[in-house]
């Protein structure tokens, strides 16, 4: 019998962790990012429904108090508890960033893969509109849209979505064009698998993963952008709490109560850090060939 007997079974490869979440957990910095992110999400979710003090009811007797046991982050100029305001603002800062990214991810993925796979007129129309949207730097376009719609939280979200979707559409398009040429897609075509099943089974999951990684990596700067616009008074309107808006309010009193700046700044820092850690780890563990 030949040593090359093709029926001889091969060596069994060592088991590899296939679930993305668990691989993320094993990544040295991914774990810390997941823990920090989960804690922040919990904090934000809780803050949306409950806070130790009412976040926007003034208490003039306790204005500009330093940090204490009753008010760990102190109180602001109208005596509102800073901890409660930071807690209540969390879901606006983090939630809005996630919402915008989820929206541009979905819009970009659908339009981009549609353009890439349908080709022809659909492709031309979608991509020319995207080209026009990308002629302006994202933040500048967001300013333009906000100038058009006027300040406001919802308007800010719309502006950021308008400013960002085209990048995701272009990425999805080029990824799906690339995927369409892959041998496994041609093999499925030849086997007579219907088109919709090839798109859903072969093409979309891979494209969605890549675009999802890009969106996760963008989460940090999106949190920064939302708090930045709110800092300028173009996003969340008072008295609603949001971290960027809190920074703007606190800034007026920094000579008297500099600690007021620290709490929202820390929260922004921690959430961007968590997003960066998870995003970078995701990019590391999801890159093909590094199983």
């Amino acid at each position: 019998m030949s040593v090359l007997d093709v029926t001889r079974p091969d060596v069994v490869p060592p088991p590899v962790e296939r679930r993305l979440l668990r691989r993320l957990w094993r990544h040295p910095s991914g774990r810390w990012g997941l823990l920090l992110g989960a804690a922040l999400l919990l904090f934000a979710a809780l803050g949306a429904v409950w806070t130790p003090y009412a976040p926007d009811v003034p208490d003039y007797a306790n204005a500009l108090k330093g940090p204490s046991l009753a008010h760990p982050f102190g109180t602001d100029a109208t005596g509102r508890d800073m901890f409660s305001r930071v807690m209540n603002g969390a879901h606006r800062s983090i939630g809005a960033a996630m919402l915008v990214l989820a929206a541009v991810f979905a819009i970009g993925l659908v339009l981009g893969t549609l353009a890439g796979l349908a080709g022809g007129l659909t492709d031309t129309v979608v991509m020319r509109v995207a080209d026009v949207a990308m002629a302006l730097p994202g933040l500048v376009l967001a300013f333009a849209v906000l100038g058009l719609l006027g300040p406001g939280f919802v308007n800010l979200l719309v502006a950021l979505i308008v400013a960002d979707w085209a990048w995701y559409a272009r990425l999805s398009r080029s990824l799906s064009l690339d995927a369409r040429q892959r041998p496994h897609v041609i093999a499925a075509q030849m086997a007579g698998i219907p088109r919709w099943r090839i798109v859903l089974g072969h093409i979309l999951p891979g494209v969605a993963l890549q675009v999802g990684i890009v969106a996760t990596l963008a989460l940090g700067s999106m949190i920064g952008a939302i708090s930045g616009f709110s800092f300028l008074g173009l996003g969340v309107q008072p008295p609603a709490a949001e971290w960027g808006a809190l920074l703007a309010e606190s800034r007026l009193f920094f000579a008297l109560a500099p600690w007021l700046l620290l709490a929202p700044a820390w929260m922004i820092f921690l959430s961007v850090l968590a997003a960066n850690l998870v995003g970078n780890a995701l990019r590391d563990v999801a890159s093909p060939g590094e199983a």
Binding site: V132, V140, F143, L232, F269
Partner: protein, 324 residues
């Protein structure tokens, strides 16, 4: 197995340059159309808004009609677009609703301050990230690299405006370092630009360091090593030029973020530039000013991206040959 690039001879570079310039012009045109569209898309009647801004509190129908005629609002949109574009080419961006002064003039008054601040900040970020990335890659996994990585993690997690706000409040003002409210001059731009550069450089350092390490681990680096080249020689002569090319493209994208972030930065440093002008206009719904700002920002971005691509084209022989 031969890569199928076409050599296009000496003319190749110029063809590629011409194509890239044509692309930049198209992008500029697309940006101008977006900017123009702001006005017809704006909610409410434009003529009424202009009259209100001019102080006509309760304009009559006749006044509105004559204003419409004056502003050319009765023309078809495409004609309005061409009028506007022709104006842009002549340098006419219309009149500010509030001050009645030509927008172009107001922008030109404020532009130098912004360019000064952003240019200096850009220079600081490039110098910082080059130095830090080279040190980190040269001392990989030793304490200088660890320290630099800690800095980049922190810097990347602090949005520029948050870092600027904290640095300004707790360091500059706290330690009485220089005046905050300053006239725009190179010396007063120094501290703000340094602060912005320090924060921006964090993510750029991450990027360049990764590019350098990737190049240091590449096949050509190993071959150079096997010929007897020192690590320093490989880093500076082979890894740096290759990593810089990638880095240039990233800087191009970041310049857009820097331009877009200008209003925020200027608000924090109370810098009397274009950003502050835009914020004023946004609260007053002063559309011509908003349009002017967005157009200038877009054009600066187009020019910056064009310059960067042209430099890349000069440096990378593969790009030149591919464009055939």
């Amino acid at each position: 197995m031969t890569p199928r690039f076409l050599m296009i001879g000496r003319g190749g570079l110029w063809v590629a340059v011409a194509l890239r310039i044509a692309q930049a012009l198209l992008t500029a045109l697309a940006a101008a159309i977006v900017v123009w569209a702001l006005l017809p898309l704006a909610p409410g009647d434009v003529a009424t808004r202009v009259l209100l801004a001019r102080g006509v509190l309760e304009p009559t129908a006749a006044e509105i009609a004559s204003a419409r005629e004056d502003l050319g609002l009765n023309d078809p949109l495409i004609v309005q677009l061409f009028h506007w574009l022709a104006g842009v080419v002549r340098g006419d961006l219309g009149q500010s609703f509030t001050s009645q002064a030509p927008v172009t003039q107001e922008i030109l008054e404020r532009l130098p301050a912004t360019l000064m601040l952003l240019g200096l900040a850009l220079a600081f970020s490039i110098v910082f990230s080059l130095l830090l990335a080279l040190i980190a890659a040269g001392y990989r996994d030793r304490w200088p690299d660890r320290a630099i990585r800690l800095y980049t993690q922190i810097g990347a997690a602090l949005p520029t405006f948050v870092f600027a706000l904290l640095a300004l409040t707790f360091v500059v003002v706290g330690f009485q370092m220089g005046r905050v409210l300053a006239d725009p001059s190179w010396s007063s731009a120094l501290i703000p630009a340094f602060i912005i550069g320090l924060d921006r450089a964090a993510s750029w350092t991450q990027l360049l360091r990764a590019g350098l390490l990737q190049a240091m681990a590449s096949g050509y680096a190993d071959v150079a090593r096997a010929r007897g080249a020192s690590e320093r020689r490989i880093l500076l002569r082979h890894a740096l030029p290759n990593a810089l090319l990638q880095f240039l493209t990233a800087i191009g994208v970041s310049i857009g973020a820097l331009i877009g972030g200008a209003p925020l930065i200027e608000a924090i440093f109370t810098w009397p530039g274009l950003g502050a002008y835009l914020l004023e206009a946004m609260s007053a719904r002063n559309y011509p000013v908003i349009q002017g700002y967005v157009l200038i920002a877009a054009l600066s971005y187009v020019i910056a991206a064009l310059l960067i691509d042209l430099v890349a084209l000069l440096l990378d022989p593969r790009l030149r040959d591919q464009r055939a």
